[in-house]
Symmetry: none
Subunit: 405 residues, 2 copies
């Protein structure tokens, strides 16, 4: 099967001096369905010769080169010039881009830094930016394509559905790689892998990737589906995962719970201590979540647990805030206060401090209140504060999904 | 100033097919104090010629090359062979390594895959691995150094304090690079840059990097501080940023507000609609935030605004939930319910839906209640749902910082 070679060039000194590069997995996601495999990624600082060197190497090796970053209006934005030097092309001022910017920003006359944004590589097509002033650029030379994208995700991401994916598809015409992504929760990475091994053995021609997250394991199956093998492999994996499978593609534990609530015409609310609003945040990341989510009480102090949720002072005194009885009263309180059909609660020790031999860091109690009463769970997670919190939020959102009929 | 050039080569197909590369910031942290700047990072799949090509380019350009990953015992671990090919050196079996492995694992006779782990580049020193079987390797050639490290963080990280840092320091003897990171909020990237231009002009020998976030701009100043120029440049920037400067190094808008609350012996709480718990989440990301943060009411539904925070139904009817009066009542309600000295509120339209001509997507009202009453702010942000929410959370956390005496 013919797979295109793509290389990514990320520019920005920040990527080499402390900032995480979050983009390579995102480009992988965008490029796989277009029939491309990423064969190399390079990050370069804001130096014109360095960027030019990265680009020329990438253009020598790959079919498609995506350069991300360095198209902004400031002194350290040099990708346009580096690409011009690499290709031996001029930068030409585009009246069409000028027009778009003056309409989008309601300006009669563009300020100088806006004018720089209208410089295109000679022969390049521009990609409109719905969230910024830097245009993307697409240039083909022989059988190769160079794409320049602005650095911020919110600026380059919409360019794929708007024009860029189509442009790549038409130019290269590679057979599409079909990718199915299954999401599971409540399994360890090794458990998930073992569980799915029979399917991996049966469909040897396909690519299987296992991605472990906090309390979640994703499973990517990709390959040529012209004979239905990706579809069949996914069906086999679904059967093997059973109730641990919470969704596919862009689903999250929160969206999976939301879909079930919406379908049942029910609402949910939360009460969070150690997750500190993370569960609410994961829920409200979803547009339209207000239809099924009433809110969450982030109750960090004991006073807030008592006053907002009606937890009994005696419960806190006798069992402490990190306890099954407190989790139970928090969930029941949230259900009552928010007037929702279901309510979850989370109370635990996220760390790094605050652990004791009896209640170590990572110990979390959960409550889940519904029309038929309140259930309580206890889990011990291992990892950093952030990891414990993420595991806890994903755990209870997944239990919420499972409880809804 | 003499700064060493370092390049990082990460190997592993997973880095190009969905897994985040978390290591570059960690290497930056280890190498900066040794006088190195990372000038390029490359990620390559598990292909011998690709790894060899990455290494040979890096060795041509940089003083120090660190290759991470691909030293394990499985078929796709190819970095050793790639380095041997690049350098034209043989791999030689090390009896010393064999001895260490047999002692560490209590084995009289090593199994075959352990034996592969004892292959060193001819002339290389080995770095003992306290958490695995793969040795690190250090090889110098002329004025350059190549370091091979195993992929897992827990395996390579202890190698720096154990031997590697010292080895690099003695071989290169570069003056250490000092880096100061200033954080500002409430400025656009271009505003911040313009504001700081005088300092950038005055300290031409230093490196300045501008990093824009949602509602925040970070400023990195780095260079040789042996004559105090980094310290002086930072002082100049601090003066220029004034009240927009909220902190340094690892500070966030939430931690900056927290530090001021802690110093004043005061507490805060929140009421969040459109940010859906994000502000609480940013606060509770900070270990020990329970000392100054009581909690936050995530009130997505009108019923919750009324019931949990005491917002008047008439206010919602007359002005809607996204309005100054509602923001005011939410902040006052949160202050009362949580019994805190200060309380903030956020209510707006995060999008992508729900906007109207009068109340477009990105419009957010904020309240800030304190001992002297309630103030209200209105802002219009532009961007995706996630970006609007992040801007809103950072904005109100920064206003909270400013209000505390």
């Amino acid at each position: 099967m013919k797979v295109g070679k793509a290389e990514i060039v990320c520019t920005g000194s920040e990527l080499l001096s402390g900032k995480l590069n979050l983009y390579v997995p995102l480009f992988h996601e965008r490029l796989s369905p277009l029939g491309f495999k990423i064969t190399r990624e390079q990050s370069s600082g804001d130096s014109l010769p360095d960027i030019a060197d990265c680009l020329s190497g990438a253009l020598r090796r790959a079919d498609l080169v995506i350069a991300c970053g360095g198209l902004g209006p400031t002194f350290d934005d040099l990708t346009r010039q580096a690409a011009a030097r690499t290709l031996g092309r001029r930068l030409v001022y585009s009246r069409a881009c000028e027009k778009i910017l003056s309409i989008n920003y309601g300006l009669k006359k563009l300020p100088p830094n806006f004018k720089d944004q209208c410089l295109l590589l000679e022969g390049a097509k521009s990609l409109e930016n719905t969230n910024g002033t830097a245009f993307g650029q697409v240039l083909t030379r022989g059988r190769k394509m160079l794409v320049l994208l602005p650095g911020p995700r919110k600026e380059w991401e919409p360019m794929f559905p708007n024009f860029l994916s189509e442009e790549i598809k038409v130019f290269f015409n590679f057979p599409p790689v079909t990718q199915i992504r299954l999401h599971s929760a409540g399994l360890w990475e090794t458990q998930a892998e073992k569980l799915l091994r029979p399917a991996m053995r049966r469909f040897k021609g396909l690519d299987f990737t296992v991605l472990a997250g906090p309390g979640t394991v994703d499973f990517l199956i990709s390959g040529d589906d012209s004979r239905g093998s990706v579809t069949k492999a996914a069906a086999a994996c679904r059967r093997l995962l059973g109730r641990s499978l919470y969704g596919e593609d862009a689903a999250t534990p929160a969206s999976a719970a939301g879909e079930k609530l919406k379908a049942a015409g029910k609402t949910a609310a939360g009460a969070e201590s150690c997750t500190g609003g993370l569960a609410a945040q994961l829920i409200t990341d979803i547009p339209g979540s207000s239809a099924w989510f009433n809110g969450s009480a982030v109750v960090y102090s004991n006073r807030a647990k008592i006053k907002v949720l009606g937890v009994k002072p005696a419960t806190l005194e006798r069992h402490g805030a990190v306890s099954a009885p407190c989790a139970r009263e928090m969930a029941a309180g949230a259900r009552r206060v928010f007037g929702s059909d279901y309510a979850f609660s989370v109370t635990g020790i996220a760390g790094p401090d605050g652990g004791t031999p009896a209640k170590p860091v990572g110990l979390v109690y959960f409550g889940l209140a519904g029309p038929r009463g309140v259930g309580v769970f206890k889990r011990q997670f291992r990892g950093t504060r952030g990891f414990v919190r993420a595991c806890a939020a994903n755990f209870i959102l997944d239990e919420l999904r499972k409880i809804i009929k």
